[in-house]
Symmetry: C2
């Protein structure tokens, strides 16, 4: 038994670009690193097209999908951008501070610039500063509003959301 002991975990989307093509992958291994400055860490396999794109531009967007997007997120997490153009899955809008676009359907988009990369075992940890973020006020009013929004999580393969009964 390994990383599944930390599951269920949230699932996010990582948007990246090589300047021409835009790619989206699903990623659970995302963690806040600092409040001030606002920084996040993402952990990605170096085999991923997303990794290759981030290497090129030093930028990416962490987008926050909701449960209603689960089939698209599933596809983003199981099909490689090398085999299929995943840019048609979502509607992109320009970001404010990075060249990589944000996802319109998502309740938040964090525009990130890479600060440092470090290999650990079979993955690479990427520390990044969040230069700008956009979000739906409705979803983050006094904290994440699980009574209003079905935030997406998964249980090592299956989609889940949060139960408001224990709010």
């Amino acid at each position: 038994m390994g990383v599944e002991l930390l599951y269920p975990m949230r699932t996010y989307l990582i948007v990246s670009s090589d300047g021409e093509r835009t790619n989206v992958m699903a990623a659970d291994w995302v963690v806040p690193l600092s409040h001030e400055p606002f920084m996040v860490g993402v952990v990605i396999s170096p085999k991923r097209l997303t990794y290759e794109f981030i290497e090129k531009t030093g930028e990416f967007v962490v987008a926050v999908p909701t449960l209603d997007l689960k089939m698209k997120v599933w596809k983003a997490g199981t099909v490689s951008g090398r085999d299929e153009d995943k840019s048609t899955l979502f509607k992109f809008v320009p970001s404010a501070k990075v060249g990589v676009p944000s996802i319109e359907e998502c309740v938040a988009n964090l525009e990130c610039r890479v600060v440092e990369k470090k290999e650990y075992g079979d993955h690479v940890f990427i520390a990044a500063e969040v230069l700008h973020s956009t979000y739906a006020d409705f979803a983050f009013d006094g904290g994440a509003r699980i009574d209003r929004i079905r935030f997406l999580a998964h249980t090592w393969g299956r989609a889940a959301t949060f139960d408001t009964r224990y709010y």
Copy 2:
């Protein structure tokens, strides 16, 4: 708006020791780093007693609490071990590969040895190898079983768990 855009997140417990005292803190900022070897990252404020203890021993345990422990987890996350002995909150059992104990009430305990530390903004990222783990088979049978176990999460201040309706 900052890190709350990534919430709700799971809440874990970090057990640490200075060789004499055992301390427990609640931590949301925990992330898998690698499958092989199994590694995890934890992000902790250098002001925490837990950080001081981990500096001393190079070891810690990531324990996985369930919703029924939420009041104890809340206390572990809001009261400093400098002000109160939090070792009475949980029942400890010896770990197999580290000197820091595991928590009996938790559904999993990951015994960790620090590999590297790196400061990012107001927190320190600690990369660690998981030397050994113990867990309840019932909770992790073919992935995290949210149909059986109420895994703890929180929504920027309040407790939540996962909804099996969307399993």
